[in-house]
Amino acid sequence: MKKALQLVLFLGIIATISGISVGYVNSITEPIIQDNLLASEITNLEAMYPGAEFTALEVSDDSGYVQGAYEVVGEGYAVKVQTTGYNSSTPIIALVGFDSEGTITGLMAIQQQETDGFGTKCFEDANIDTLYVGKALGETVDLLSGATVTSTAIQNAITAAQTVVAELVG
């Protein structure tokens, strides 16, 4: 009994020290990672809409998928969504583009580490065109066979984004 306690105590101490050091490094790197993400968002928005101007919009979302929405002046809207596909440790983060009527004009992944050759198919240009582009508000986007988990995740996220855009379009 005494031996068992000793073992548990030792492992506990090791785990505590590790936890503290990981937490410390995280407190240093977390703001930098966030900054990088924000900076890359501007780059991404500009990649999607070259030369356009953006304004950040305040939106309410109950689904938890929508991370932010931006008005693209003269073009429509861009909604940033986060959803979990096959890779549970790295969620998919993507921008969904809408025109001023709320019809989807494009999708661009900001961060995704889905299975190469399967889940990643959802982010190929040809598939984005057939699956997502041109879907009006109220229409549900299609799934992709061979990448069901990833495309279901994207479907959920886009549905949430459509709800947000529907409010914006009015």
Binding site: Q6, F10, L11, I14, A15, V22, T29, E30, T90
Partner: protein, 212 residues
């Protein structure tokens, strides 16, 4: 000590000699950048884990040594992952899940168990450095062949600043003859097999020399 260090390269090269850590080395050896980045991360984790495991070897109860090693290694990998994510986002994206998978890279647990838990701090650190560089060296060999065959050139950019190209060249005469097969996993296996055979021959020779 020098022998320990040198062993990591040819005789006990973790990838070509001990066939350890092959999953990550086959998966990410598509470009020189990935190879150097991954090699550096593994080397860092390996040195740090060897030093820590060796430093606590006398107070670690034998029954729970593996869980203790795993906690130590997992925290080190998480730290390295966060640092890479913060300062080298491009490398983080291209290494993907394999950066986190360093935790289960058998080279690290293997060295902790086989070497660091029985030897002093300094020689464990040197063993970690040797093994880490051996792994990096193996990745470099595979990735140079694969990148050259798939793109007819080689390039290396500064991982801290992707816009700063350190060197980059392509042989235009060879561009129509690139073999895209080598960017797929089949190409990784083919390259790996050729190098493994070469290293086996080298080992055989040095063994014979020693026997004489």
């Amino acid at each position: 000590m020098w022998q320990n260090f040198k062993n990591g390269f040819i005789k006990e090269n973790p990838v070509f000699g001990l066939y350890l850590g092959m999953c990550s080395s086959l998966a990410i050896s598509t470009s020189l950048n990935n190879a150097i980045g991954m090699g550096a991360c593994v080397t860092l984790v390996l040195i740090a884990s060897n030093v820590i495991v060796s430093a606590i070897r006398k107070i670690t109860p034998d029954e729970i040594r593996i869980p203790v090693y795993i906690v130590v290694i997992a925290s080190l990998v998480t730290i390295v992952e966060m640092v890479v994510h913060a300062f080298m986002p491009d490398l983080y994206t291209s290494l993907g899940v394999f950066l986190g998978l360093i935790v289960v890279n058998c080279i690290i647990l293997g060295r902790a168990e086989a070497f660091a838990s029985k030897n002093g701090v300094v020689s464990s650190a040197i063993d970690g450095l040797g093994m880490g560089l051996g792994y990096t060296f193996a990745l470099l060999l595979i990735s140079v062949v694969r990148e050259f065959l798939t793109t007819a050139g080689l390039s290396f950019v500064n991982p801290f600043d992707p816009t700063q190209v350190i060197f980059s060249f392509t042989i235009e005469a060879l561009e129509p003859y690139t073999i895209s097969l080598f960017s797929a996993s089949v190409g990784a296996f083919l390259t790996f097999a050729c190098f493994a055979a070469l290293f086996a021959v080298l080992r055989e020779r040095s063994n014979k020399k020693e026997a004489k």
